[in-house]
């Protein structure tokens, strides 16, 4: 449909009958598709099944598509503002009606379908209005791009501390209202933010498409599990070991894929992720095989456990601070651990981006051949990217193990890699704040809307498609130079000495 819309835009101004004709053809094609998919319905009645027809619903859906197509054409013809506003209003109205539970049970699906079409029309109209405005701006003065970049950069410096402040005090609020789910969600979001930031080094900065990132997460998790269960080391002692081990695995993956680029690299990393998972699945003595490893020690606060009845001779956290025991304490403590780890990852990445190695990563992403001609060692550069990305994955894995208390290969399947990669790509490759944004949308969204059940996955997919159409570079794909000749704010011409 997108191609059609774009094709229509190229043809620009058309008369109404032509639009009508197009919409009729569009509706006819939709009808042909909808007839077998929607028109007939097989009702399962125990041993027998019965064929039902749903023609009224089908015709209604096709009619909605017809109107939608017509609206799209009218958008192109220069009525973008009015039609988008009308569609947005109707969509909003439906939302209100639906949220007040005023919709009869039978028309839920058709209603939401209509809503989706309305939203599509509204979004398309918005894009048109925006792009017209952008054209006008570009005509006015040609450095609108830098201006927009400056706005985002300024937003980043303002929003960063605000977000951080919210993140720091959020658990107290959650503790006050005793909402365990909120803290859990926070922990989950920060775990993925950390993973996103770690993968951002490999994918966003160095441009190496890694589909097996979860392997390093698994290495970190199993390192902590094995070292703590078998050797009795605590979380903070194991963390560096887990990082180092994951980094070694990063180098191990890096060596065979040095010469590969793009799709081929992606395939091999995908395989690597599966290899690690299958090894864990079959290594019964060390990794517990499919049963995984249970009874992993939970983290303690300077040796003080978060338990109601600590073993004799030790003090529990709540006893030491004279608090009433609450399982929330451990949740909040976990939250601060992952917040700290994520912030370290962020600090490190922002810092290393401005160092020669970080610039070499980005240069490698842009053009490997040119890098070689400039005497940059591509082998070392790639391997450090893999190692550092993997190290952060390992840290996050250790945290995952101590949080869950139980791990099994189940947790480290390809879907995890795909989600982390989606976070990085949707956020805007190489953008740190983009990762935060994308995580909140991709992880927070489905968790928050858990009540929508199966529909949330549909919405999730739809959202990703929309982002890819609307912002193929990612949500916040702005990149600031790592070093400037003219500091921002100073007048470029005057900066010359």
């Amino acid at each position: 449909m997108v191609a059609m819309v774009q094709g229509a835009r190229a043809a620009s101004v058309r008369s109404f009958p032509v639009m009508l004709k197009e919409a009729v053809i569009f509706a006819a094609v939709s009808l042909a598709l909808a007839l077998p998919l929607v028109g007939f319905h097989i009702l399962d009645k125990g041993s027998t099944s019965q064929l039902q027809t749903r023609f009224p619903e089908m015709f209604f859906a096709v009619f909605v598509l017809f109107l939608g197509k017509l609206a799209m054409s009218l958008l192109e013809a220069g009525h973008a503002k009015r039609i988008a506003a009308a569609a947005a209003f109707l969509a909003g109205l439906w939302m209100v009606v639906a949220l007040l539970h005023l919709v009869p049970a039978g028309s839920q699906v058709l209603g939401w379908f209509t809503w989706l079409v309305l939203v599509a029309v509204a979004v398309r109209g918005l894009i048109l209005v925006r792009s017209d405005a952008a054209d006008a701006r570009a005509a006015a003065h040609d450095d609108s791009g830098t201006a927009a970049g400056a706005v985002i950069a300024k937003l980043g410096t303002v929003l960063g501390p605000i977000f951080l402040g919210i993140a720091l005090v959020a658990p107290f609020y959650a503790h006050m209202v005793d909402d365990k789910r909120m803290v859990d969600l926070g922990v989950l979001i920060f775990t993925y933010i950390m993973l996103g930031w770690g993968l951002n080094v490999v994918v966003g900065l160095a441009g190496l498409l890694d589909l097996g990132y979860v392997a390093f997460y698994a290495v970190g998790a199993y390192t902590y599990a094995v070292f703590s269960v078998k050797l009795g080391l605590n979380f903070w002692e194991t963390l560096p070991i887990a990082g180092a081990l994951a980094a070694s695995f990063g180098i191990l993956l890096g060596f065979p894929v040095l010469r590969l680029r793009g799709d081929y690299l992606a395939i091999v990393t995908l395989g690597f992720g599966e290899i690690i998972r299958i090894i864990l699945l079959n290594w019964a003595e060390l990794a517990g095989g499919a049963q995984g490893i249970g009874g992993i020690p939970r983290p303690s606060f300077f040796g003080m456990a978060f338990t109601a009845n600590p073993p004799d001779g030790t003090t529990a956290f709540h006893q030491f601070f004279n608090l009433e025991f609450s399982p929330m304490h451990r949740q909040v403590y976990l939250y601060y651990i992952i917040l700290l780890l994520a912030l370290i990852t962020n600090w490190f990445t922002l810092r290393i981006r401005k160092l020669p190695i970080g610039r070499a990563w980005e240069a490698l992403r842009e053009d490997e051949t040119a890098c070689r001609a400039l005497g940059i060692n591509p082998t070392n550069t790639k391997l450090t990217a893999f190692a550092i990305g993997a190290m952060f994955g390992g840290f996050a894995g250790s945290f995952f193990a101590t949080r869950q208390g139980f791990i099994s290969p189940e947790s480290f399947n390809f879907l995890e890699s795909a989600i982390i990669l989606a976070i990085v790509v949707l956020g805007g490759m190489g953008s740190q704040i983009g990762v935060v944004f994308a995580t909140v949308v991709l992880i927070g969204g489905p968790e928050w809307f858990r009540d929508l059940e199966a529909y949330r996955m549909l919405a999730f997919g739809g959202l990703m498609v929309l982002i890819m159409i609307w912002k193929p570079e990612g949500l916040l794909a702005h990149r600031d130079p790592t070093v400037r000749l003219h500091p921002p704010g100073a007048k470029p011409a005057g900066a010359k000495p």
Partner: protein, 296 residues
């Protein structure tokens, strides 16, 4: 620069030439792209390699800069005040790192989404890597690294001023006009502080004014920076004006070698560029030998 230049292998004076190419041959399967080519390039000279399309010019460059490993031949770099190096034995990126032979590409290869200044700072990677203590000193912002970075930016500023791009230093390199991108690629190569600069068709797609600016830049590099420049070029106005020495290739073989005046009147070169009648066809190599014997 007359007789001695025409016979490179014999030209062993007191100071060895900056670059000596001996019997360079590059085969791809059954195809011989470069066939037994020998020439020299002097320091502080602009040496041009010219020839019709498919003559093997870029292949010579790729052998010199480590993108191909030559099938046969020896490539000797004898920079003043540094030990002699055999380029054909070095791994690709080390030619840029250790021998400091820098190059540009026929199709511009900048880092388009990095700023103009970053392009020039990335070129100083190896120097900065050492200064940043292989990242550790840099990570904690030690003054050693900060000073090194400041110096790197100053070098970049120097070259940006030379090509008049100071004002656009913080813009993405990909947003520059074509001519500026060409010159930026050259100064990026200069930021590696090279001993030999290899330029693959730097004037391609430039208008006459930009061409003239390019000539001025190349002369500056030769006369003020005092390094050797090796140049592949189709634009004869550039080649004839600024070259000290020209090597002509055709079908992978060297057909002539000498100063611009010599090349301008060389029969084999004229034949290679303008074509010849089928009846009086002489293999280009023989023709060049004949001509050379007659003249030298």
């Amino acid at each position: 620069m007359t007789a001695a230049m025409a016979m490179p292998v014999a030209a062993a004076g007191t100071v060895p030439p900056l670059l000596t190419v001996e019997h360079l041959t590059m085969r791809f399967g059954g195809l011989t792209a470069v066939d037994d080519v020998s020439f020299t390039a002097q320091n502080q000279h602009i040496t041009a390699i010219i020839g019709p399309n498919g003559a093997g010019k870029t292949t010579v460059f790729n052998c010199l800069t480590g993108f191909y490993k030559p099938t046969v031949g020896r490539l000797t770099l004898s920079p003043p005040g540094a030990p002699t190096m055999l380029l054909e034995q070095m791994e690709g990126f080390r030619i840029g790192q250790k021998a400091r032979v820098a190059r540009t590409f026929q199709n511009i290869r900048l880092f388009p989404k990095m700023s103009v200044l970053e392009n020039l700072v990335v070129a100083q990677h190896n120097k900065l890597m050492r200064a940043s203590g292989f990242t550790l000193a840099g990570l904690f912002g030690l003054p050693v690294y900060r000073d090194a970075e400041k110096k790197a930016v100053e070098l970049a500023r120097y070259w940006l001023e030379r090509i008049g791009l100071t004002r656009r230093a913080d813009e993405n390199a990909g947003n520059l006009p074509y001519g500026d991108q060409r010159r930026l690629e050259i100064v990026r190569a200069m930021c590696t502080e090279p001993r030999l600069l290899c330029l693959d068709e730097p004037a391609a797609g430039l208008n006459p004014r930009e061409s003239a600016e390019l000539n001025e830049l190349l002369r500056f590099i030769r006369d003020e920076v005092k390094i050797g420049v090796l140049l592949i070029e189709h634009d004869m106005s550039v080649v004839m004006k600024i070259s000290d020495h020209i090597v002509v290739l055709d079908y992978g073989r060297k057909i002539a070698d000498g100063n611009p005046e010599f090349i301008r009147h060389d029969a084999a070169v004229i034949r290679a560029y303008l074509g010849e009648d089928e009846d009086d066809e002489i293999p280009p190599v023989i023709a060049s030998d004949l001509v050379k014997d007659g003249r030298v």
